[in-house]
Symmetry: C2
């Protein structure tokens, strides 16, 4: 790490302490998708505004990002956004459709489609950068601000499929059948991801998370051949900024070691694998983040207490064995049906255990 | 195994030989969902008939089951059906909607819903049994006829969610939050599954596959606590019939050992984990089945040859290390967009390697 950011004091923040092998002042917790549909104040603010419109409005981004911090007392804020935001900013014709997710007007499947993609210029995400500036003045000094980006594979899957997929068949058809075109597309998306993360780091975020949400559809051999070189470039390009990097994908038990090897400070783990097993699998150079099944938050407080107690035990075992730290989180995003009070209660519990 | 079936000679069939530790006369291969949408002759026969209607018509079931055997020269036929067929037969109001999958009219979520479920009587699946009788006279003596059923967890997920799901949130809410109701429902579905498999075995199938397609959404601890006791009862109840049992779920890398411990003769493996690694994980008492990524069949013959060569090498390494046998298959079902010729070519290749 060649640069030390001085805007806020990283060691004050429990999340940054846990991510970097220091001792946090309390057990850090945040939740993927904590800013969003589970909060009544979010639903109110979004009642008459589209998702994408909201993601490009600095006031709204700052306000929605703050909401879960105010309500739940989490140890991090994660920017309210969507992983397709930098694609939209760079000119891809897409929308985020309620109940469906991102929908790409013209899926990217040919060499001409790939050649037509534009680079991302930092001023195209100016609203995100402006929101970060506001949040840095508003957030308590102990609460880390996390920026994020979709990893190239996951972005590629949306562009090629045209939206969410269960099979990723068009994505893998290009990946396996036309590796040259695949790597050209992935190289372009790697540039977009780097530009977007750099803009957020320059604006002052305290940590970044790279979401390779759907990489779990790949074998380790495919990940190594078709994805890892690009993820490695993303991680290498931001390493020098001195903000901790978190790497996460759902269903990636078989990929955790490979996703760690591309370069990360924290590896996110989903609920399918015990945290201490995950920590052993990835080695002792990276902190761990996770891994409550989001559905547990729908099942009542007794279930939440039982599951969190187990997870915290597993995290403590990993740290005792040499893992730098444990950040409590879910194994995937908050489900929209989650009661806001269930989240608040979980945070209290985590801070008390 | 207390009964030996004599209708056909099991050792003649390469699939049965590989499943039971004998030496097959050729490398056995079949494909999950081989009977279905990838075949023009299937689309022709289904043009004016609904899916469920077809599953309860013995002539159609027999004809559609034969189609891939005739066209591709596979080493097994798998009954054309759907895992919700026994639920429909037992009186659950459901349909199979094109592009969506099973849709349950009234999702099962309360004690009263569970109490209202009826048992499955063998004569309610008489069409399936009649189709099996026809197939046994029509199939070459070397081609195994595989019966199948959905495992209790996967059936429960459809009943509780009301259809396919990405989150299984209602399923897990009941499982974690109301274990008593959960186990009552699972006990009922275990009875249905056993009754359906027994009916198929009595009618003469040579092997059975238990599809716990969606178990991969669970941690091993949840699988052990909430699913394994029921899957164990299914497997124990059919063990005595002397037909090999295959157990499969997608994305189950972390569960393979647990899914083997419930009792099976063959474990199905998806493409996320190398076959030889899977074989080591489950021990040397069970044969392995898999594990071509179905998307590879869309990516051209060079890709198929490369991937199948690797898979067959991995299978041979496992067998050399003591695994009883390897049955070549996909890691999930044939994708509807697959060209029929790509499948035929893959079978030829597998038999030639």
């Amino acid at each position: 790490m060649t640069t030390v950011r001085a805007r806020r004091t990283p060691t004050e923040m429990p999340l940054i302490a846990a991510a970097t092998g220091a001792v946090p002042s309390r057990r850090p917790v945040w939740f993927m998708r904590q800013a969003g549909r589970s909060l009544p104040e979010y639903r109110a603010i979004r009642a008459d505004r589209g998702m994408l419109e909201s993601c490009f409005d600095a006031d709204l981004v700052a306000e929605i990002t703050m909401q879960p911090v105010r309500r739940h007392d989490t140890d991090a804020a994660i920017l309210f956004s969507d992983i397709v935001v930098p694609l939209k900013a760079a000119g891809v014709d897409l929308d985020i459709v309620p109940g469906t997710g991102p929908v790409i007007a013209s899926p990217v499947r040919t060499a001409a489609d790939v050649a037509a993609l534009d680079r991302l210029e930092p001023d195209q995400v100016g609203a995100v950068n402006a929101a970060i500036g506001r949040l840095l003045t508003e957030l308590p000094s102990t609460v880390a601000l996390i920026g994020f980006a979709g990893a190239p594979f996951t972005l590629a899957s949306y562009l090629i499929e045209g939206g969410p997929s269960r099979t990723y068949e068009n994505t893998k058809r290009m990946m396996l059948g036309d590796p040259e075109l695949w790597h050209t597309l992935m190289g372009h998306l790697t540039d977009v991801t780097i530009a977007f993360l750099r803009a957020q780091i320059d604006a002052g975020v305290d940590a970044v998370q790279l979401f390779d949400s759907w990489a779990g559809t790949l074998s380790e051999a495919s990940y190594e051949a078709f994805v890892a070189p690009h993820a490695t470039r993303v991680m290498a390009e931001i390493e020098g900024y001195g903000v901790p990097r978190i790497h996460f994908g759902v269903g990636t038990g078989e990929l955790l070691a490979a996703m760690t090897r591309v370069g990360t400070d924290v590896i996110g783990v989903d609920w399918r694998i015990p945290l201490d097993v995950a920590a052993e699998r990835v080695g002792r150079d990276v902190a761990i983040q996770g891994n409550l099944d989001p559905t547990a938050l729908l099942a009542g407080r007794d279930v939440v207490r039982r599951e969190l107690t187990r997870i915290i035990d597993e995290g403590e075992r990993a740290v005792a064995a040499g893992t730098p730290g444990h950040i409590v989180n879910l194994g995937h995003g908050v489900l929209p049906n989650t009661e806001a009070d269930a989240i608040t209660h979980a945070v209290e519990l985590i801070h008390s255990l």
